[in-house]
Symmetry: C2
Subunit: 453 residues, 2 copies
């Protein structure tokens, strides 16, 4: 079957590349409208109906609605929703890319481009699966809907408002999430949830202007203030020191722990994938690496900027310093609760001068692991990847707006996609392997059939 | 007399502006040779002899030697050396300048330009004083030599080598340092020493590539490592926590403490000058602000750079982080000793992965405060600024390569110049007041006479 799928996929290869060329960087608002319009055009070209939906009173990028109806032999009572996003991460550091970040380039059976793994190829893969049923089998086994948003990479700030306004339009029985892929042992990971996120700017200003550093004996500087504020949040064992932070966590259930127990975890493969140099931060913590990845929150400095960053020496007391703080959330946490704890922490430790601004907030979500939809997706995956090569995860370590879908649409949600362990999403030289792409299409072809039964 | 001096100064105003326009940023190697050549041309145009001196086997910017001989009525037995530098600091943050950093601009009796206060106007002021004696009084009261270097703003890495090679050429009886000026109460400060400096790059790499921040539950990142390494060096009271750091200090003598006692210190003026927002870092330390500024070392973060610094959110684990560390030294410290202590500190605290690279090192220096040259400079200053408006300082809080001059030329050294408390050296909108500039010339005119007696 895979050979047949491959021919399909290659027929739509130019379409994939056209989609990849659009620089839909949501953090910088580049080419968002053009990209949404292309998505709608693709859906209509393949026989569906599409609408570009806007929110009143915002500048938010639109979401794209798509609908394909079950064919004559299909089950018109059942609707599967595909969630994707058409936005991508910024491409910097640009000088670490081997080829232009927005020119799709094939090398050694891989396609390199910003956004190819996260998550433009997954949308085109699903389109391929739909076209397969329409062309090869006379019609779709079930109804299919699409929701593609343009703000996933900046924390989906408007997805709640969109789902609240268009709840009925997106009504479905189950949802396949935007992403998924293979781990370092080539097992297909199916994730039933996501971590949430709270993302902050931290900013300090200590003086009206940068000052000659000879004054450092008496005048403090913003770089020191920010360094000390950040350092107060984590100890040498890498425990988070924010009062009450760990208390928010809802203890995972026995079923969730059982699913976790079946999940493999290959420490060395993870280290090799990214060329990790130091020890893992869990080495001195009272829970395992696997527990940390799936069940625990994180606190990450994603950026630091203060004073002079050029070559050579500049003897200056920086008046300003900025940091980006990325906090991943598990069930029990909310962005608002984390913001409050961070504010309290800064106040308590004498850092009232450090301004905290929340840029994004997404709630965590975990599908009820007893849902039958998880079994349907797993069986379809086993037909594609082999029985032993499919892993179910309670949730992934990454983030997406699943909570909103659960809240407004009340659907079970499982992720599947065409990525693999070395796809480098959010990083230079992001790519997918073409064989994974073909298999991802096949998985969706099986799933549409099984789901329609 | 000041009116006469002003006419002189205005006659040479175009020369000052031509000199200021050259972008001699040593940290970035811009227009260094052109600037050295202009300096030599100015000296020769004003009747002196100049040489551009190079070091064998280096790419170091040249130093400029200048010599003017005593006139017929002058004292040919005595030689005064002027030390200046023709390099300037980088101009960033460029968007905080009200006018182009390298276009000298007069507003409200002030001249704005990068390098005008530190220290291009001082060189032109001294040239004015020399020309005054040549034209108005038939000749100089003593011999004058100049040494202008091009690496002061990056820590004078080659001044030792230059002075070792050209010791005899620069032989003199005393030296006037490159800089000096008025404090916030409009008192002229004469400094008899400088702090030294050790300037470092700190760099950490934690992985081969930037990583999606969902991995933060197990994989550490460079921004956190650097933050924790830096924070380990200072406690909440702002004491430096590097083992043995304070032990290096040589306790100041009674005479030095007596001179310090006569120095005024206006806390509020210093705060107002720079718009300082928080408390001074000495608030919880067991010595006064004045002691800190003159007698104590510093540890300053001058720059931080890691991960994403743009607008919006990027969810990344930065693989690299960099900091600039600026340490000011007092007698007893050497750059080498500080480097060793920093290395030991990083090792001891588990930060062997933080790479330390010393970019610059300058020894501290303090003239013997019983030297008669200090009295000569003070008397000349009192004639210009008034008896009550002259302050002698054991050393300034800033840095320069005085130690090298003391070591090779064995001269007493005192600083004097045309800056004032709000000149913003090393910062945007650097400037001098024209009245200070005229007075600075007058001080040098009196000094040449008194020194020649």
């Amino acid at each position: 079957m895979l050979e047949n799928v491959k021919q399909f996929a290659e027929k739509n290869r130019a379409l994939l590349e056209e989609y990849l060329r659009l620089e839909s960087v949501s953090a910088q608002g580049r080419q968002m409208i053009e990209t949404a319009e292309m998505v709608a055009r693709i859906i209509e070209d393949k026989g569906g109906q599409a609408e570009i939906l806007h929110l009143a009173d915002t500048e938010a990028p639109p979401i794209v609605y798509g609908e394909f109806l079950a064919g004559p032999g299909g089950n018109a009572e059942k609707t599967l929703l595909f969630y994707n996003h058409y936005d991508v991460q910024p491409e910097d550091p640009i000088d670490e890319w081997e080829t232009d970040p927005f020119v799709p380039t094939e090398r050694d059976g891989k396609v390199y481009c910003r956004g190819v793994s996260d998550n433009k190829a997954n949308f085109i893969a699903r389109i391929n699966a739909i076209e397969y049923w329409s062309e090869q089998a006379g019609g779709l086994p079930c109804n299919v809907k699409f929701l593609l948003e343009g703000e996933e990479e900046i924390g989906s700030p408007h997805i709640n408002a969109y789902l609240a306004q268009y709840t009925d339009k997106f009504a479905a029985d189950a949802c396949i999430w935007e992403s998924g892929g293979k781990d370092a042992a080539e097992r297909m990971e199916l994730s039933c949830g996501v971590k949430g996120i709270a993302y902050f700017d931290l900013a300090v200003r200590t003086a009206a202007t940068d000052i000659h550093s000879s004054n450092a004996a008496v005048i403090d500087n913003a770089a020191w203030r920010l360094t000390q504020a950040l350092a107060s949040m984590r100890n040498a064992d890498n425990e988070i020191l924010i009062d009450g932070f760990y208390d928010l966590m809802i203890e995972p259930t026995d079923l969730e722990y059982n699913v976790l127990a079946k999940m493999p975890f290959d420490r060395q493969a993870l280290r090799d994938t990214y060329g990790v140099k130091g020890p893992f931060i869990t080495d001195n913590l009272p829970y395992s690496e696997k527990e940390a990845l799936i069940f625990y929150p994180t606190l990450t400095i994603s950026g630091l900027l203060s004073g002079y960053g050029g070559s050579g020496a500049k003897t200056v007391l920086p008046a300003q310093a900025k940091a980006k703080l990325d906090v991943r959330l598990v069930p029990g946490y909310s962005p608002e609760a984390v913001e409050q704890l961070l504010c309290q922490h800064l106040d308590k430790h004498g850092f009232k001068d450090v301004e905290l601004t929340r840029l994004a907030g997404v709630m965590p979500f975990r599908t009820d692991l007893s849902s039958s939809f998880i079994e349907v997706v797993t069986r379809a995956a086993q037909k594609t990847y082999g029985e032993e090569s499919v892993v179910v995860m309670p949730n992934s370590a990454g983030t997406g707006p699943m909570y909103s879908f659960g809240q407004y649409l009340n659907v079970p949600i499982v992720g599947s996609g065409t990525e693999y362990y070395n796809s480098a999403p959010h990083a230079p030289n992001e790519h997918i392997r073409l064989t994974d792409y073909y298999q991802g299409i096949e998985h969706m072809i099986h799933l549409l059939a099984d789901f329609g039964q």
